[in-house]
């Protein structure tokens, strides 16, 4: 089952490589972590992007030209991502590249896009991604600053004693999430950060961390733990008797998590880039298109990011013309102003859309928007 699906992705990418240039499509070069520890996120993003490109092509493409996605696996290794970016630009002749996941890969490959003057996307919420002095990089998603500011405000308004414990993954994303969170909380004098630490992606035992949080008398818990590690963590939290208001970023929005650890999640505040409970027309369009190409599967936030990337690029080409060069495309991208499932996308000076995040609360076994 799974194998068939993977082979399908494999076949699609192979087909992409060998595709005849009959219709001379516009090439969208995607370098993404399909294998390695975060391969599953990269796979979701790729599916979302492909669904978006398929949708655009089904609407007739741009000026008669269709889009083609060239997918290359980076294993999530930055050095690999640099080689992929070079290859996508110089060999595959992509008009736009997208180096997605992890953030360090997006960071590393920006010099390639800058040198070749080829516009670039790349799904990451790490703040530094837009600070690389690369005018060709655009981020049509939200970022950690916005997420943290949202959560900091939630924390400040809680009736708790506001003794906050922070925990995030020991990688590019988690490191910046905690840093930014601490900064954001500084503007609320009655909030005290009593504990902060990082866990390993490979970590299996959280009980020491929770014991220390308990010893620090934390009552507000910011836990950035991804599913399914999050299920383990929530169970262990209950095991050691740690109680407190859960305040979380993107990672606790997950239907399977809700099913398996519902009771433990009760009352939690959660931010999400996007969630399928959104019922705006753009989201509906996205869900429908995605389910059509993916056997009825419900998309997640990574898939939504992929879809948005496709929409932003299609829109830019629509305005700049199908034959636009890198510079023209960059100008068109800078002038982007579209509606998407994650909201209005309009880039600032740094090329950051600073899209808003969704704030949800888990109550009575379901996610509710706030």
């Amino acid at each position: 089952m799974r194998f068939a699906r993977t082979m399908a992705v494999f076949a699609v990418s192979l087909a992409a490589v060998t595709a005849v240039q009959a219709q001379d499509p516009i090439k969208y070069g995607l370098g993404v972590a399909l294998t390695g520890p975060i391969g599953f996120m990269g796979t979701q993003y790729t599916k979302g992007l492909q669904a978006g490109i398929d949708y655009v092509n089904s609407q007739g493409g741009i000026g008669g030209r269709k889009f083609e996605v060239i997918v290359r696996d980076t294993k999530g290794i930055p050095a690999d991502a640099i080689a992929v970016a070079k290859r996508l630009i110089e060999l595959d002749k992509a008009s736009v590249i997208d180096i997605t996941l992890p953030g360090s890969a997006t960071l590393a490959s920006q010099s390639v896009s800058k040198e070749a003057k080829i516009p670039m996307l790349g799904y990451t919420t790490v703040p530094a991604a837009v600070d690389q002095g690369n005018p060709y990089y655009f981020r049509p998603y939200s970022n950690v600053n916005i997420i943290s500011a949202t959560l900091a405000k939630v924390i400040a308004e809680l009736p708790n004693e506001k003794r906050v414990a922070l925990l995030a993954s020991n990688d590019d994303y988690g490191r910046s999430a905690i840093q930014v969170m601490i900064d954001a909380l500084k503007s609320y004098p009655d909030v005290k950060v009593v504990f902060s630490d990082y866990y390993e992606r490979t970590q299996t035992d959280f009980s020491a961390i929770f014991l220390r949080m308990k010893a620090a008398k934390a009552d507000t818990l910011y836990l950035d733990i991804r599913y399914p590690q999050s299920v383990t963590a929530l169970k262990q939290m209950a095991e050691v008797g740690l109680k407190g208001t859960l305040v979380n970023s993107l990672l606790f929005y997950n239907n399977e998590l809700a099913q398996r650890a519902g009771a433990l999640l009760e009352g939690a505040y959660i931010t999400a880039l996007w969630a399928p409970i959104k019922d705006d027309p753009e989201s509906k369009k996205f869900i429908e298109a995605f389910r059509k190409t993916n056997n009825g599967e419900i998309p997640d936030d990574s898939a939504a990011a992929g879809w948005c990337s496709a929409m932003v690029i299609a829109d830019a080409f629509k305005r700049a013309g199908a034959n636009a060069d890198g510079e023209k495309l960059r100008e068109a991208l800078a002038a982007t102003d579209i509606l998407s499932p994650i909201g209005r996308i309009k880039f600032n000076q740094k090329g950051d859309a600073e899209a808003p995040v969704l704030l949800l609360q888990f109550k009575n076994g379901a996610y509710h928007p706030l």
Partner: protein
Amino acid sequence: MHSRLAVFGLLATVCALSFAITNPYFQFVLTVSLVYAFATLGLNVIFGYAGQPAFGHPAFFAVGAYASALLTMRAGWPVYLAIAAAGPITAGLSLAVAFTSLRLRGMSFGMVTIACASVMYIITQNWVEFTGGPMGIARIPKLPHITANWAFLPDAPHQIFVLLCLLLGLALLLVDRMMASPYGRAWLAVRENEPLAASLGIAPVQWKIIGFVFGAGLSGVGGALFAHVIGFVDPTQMTWNAIGLFFIMLIGGGAGTLLGPIVGALIFGMLPEVLRVAEIARDLLLGLILVLTLVLLPDGITGFLQRRLKRSAPPKEVLVAEVGPVTDGGSANPSKSKSIGEPLLTVRGVSQRFGGLLALSDINFEVRRGEILGLVGPNGAGKTTLFNILTGTTRATAGDVLFAGTRITNMSAPRVAAHGMARTFQITSVFPKLTVAENVRIATHLWSNRNPASVLAGTHGFRAREAEIDNEVSEILDLTGLASLADVQAEHLSYGSQRLLEVSIALGTRCRLLLLDEPAAGLNSSETAQLRKLVLALRDRGLTIIAIEHDMSFIMQSCDRIIVLDHGQKIADGTAAEVSSDARVIEAYLGSDEFVSA
């Protein structure tokens, strides 16, 4: 010499090739492969030449990358200065790793180097303030142009390419020079045969550390170049994904050769990019290619090509030394030595206990300068154990050994060798993969010029000493009759010639006392006669010799004096005639008469 030409030919070709390649992606892949070559070159020193399974060693590539990135970005150093500094910095860090890990040997050593690589990975991952943590370091300055207007190298990629080729050529010259010096010879010696190396004064651990650190320095420079070529460094460069690739490159190319690491880096460095056609099944193919290479090309691509090019390579026939000029040299006079002098070696009350077994019990004797002493006794009498104690291979349980006035009791083997004692081994012990001449050249280690500055600069003094070594090697080979086999690999020699080679190796140390452990065992009668002549000739040149031997005719005809050991005790000490008529000796050899048939 041949391979050196091939290497520089290859580099020149690669350099020229860069002009044929215009696509920046291919240029990039080729450039990165060239940079990898520095690391494979460094890995080759410790893994290929010194033969140590330093599995974690490639992590030093990333260390060099971090060092140079931090120096340029935090301290504002110029790029080229930072690259130059990355070498010594990496070498310094590797020294700490070498000290902790090289106390172990073999696979355990390999595992500890992996542990050290993991520690470095975790430190770079977590020491965010210093290393940037998992985010890595972005926007590292690229290699700057040397000059804006090189008429023949107009664009930047070519300039950098030519520059890298030049630097790699320089690194190759460096390695080549080391390999043609006592350093390289010591590494090969440690790889080929540690106990023999130790008996020639080459302290194995010390030389492994030197190789480890030197290799790490080279890898560090490679890593620094890498940082400035791709402009980014992060901790994933220290994980197994990266480390494994370096081993594939080195082994696939051919470890232990000058050409192999370069060929491997160029071919296998590009392989992952070529395999992109397999997309997410890439590791499947990479693993498969790795296993197939190991099974089908045991000495890598270069080894395979060499065998294809000259089919003659391993001689089928076992080569035998011709009877050399020994007959003419010296007075092959079987009579007693004329000039037996003062005691050179004094053994006092030496005992050796292995568990409950008393292998040697209170052995006392003296050996005088210019004497040939025979040491005989049945199997298990303790003869070789005594040799091991004299040469520092085994520690005695009790007793004292004085050599030329110095107390050498329980000194390490290399230090005993430095005092002028050399030995051969009961089980033939040579450096099997090296030629006869190389075998003997290694043995000159103790009196070679090992000053690193002289070696690197190739000073007059160094070259003069190397010439002296060459002379001495050919002299020794003339003496032992191996001159015609000087360029044959030792493992291809006949057994008898290998025995002679062992003696030649011992002579290379310029020793005063030579211990021969069953030199005639397995030799036919003409070889034995030749050996006897050689031993007598050596005695006449002033060498003192102790020989363990079972071949009684050899002992009776060569030795001035004979000591008989049995069950760890000295049971006789005297001339051949005295010993052979001793009743205890005959009993020890033929067995007791007590047995009554049932």
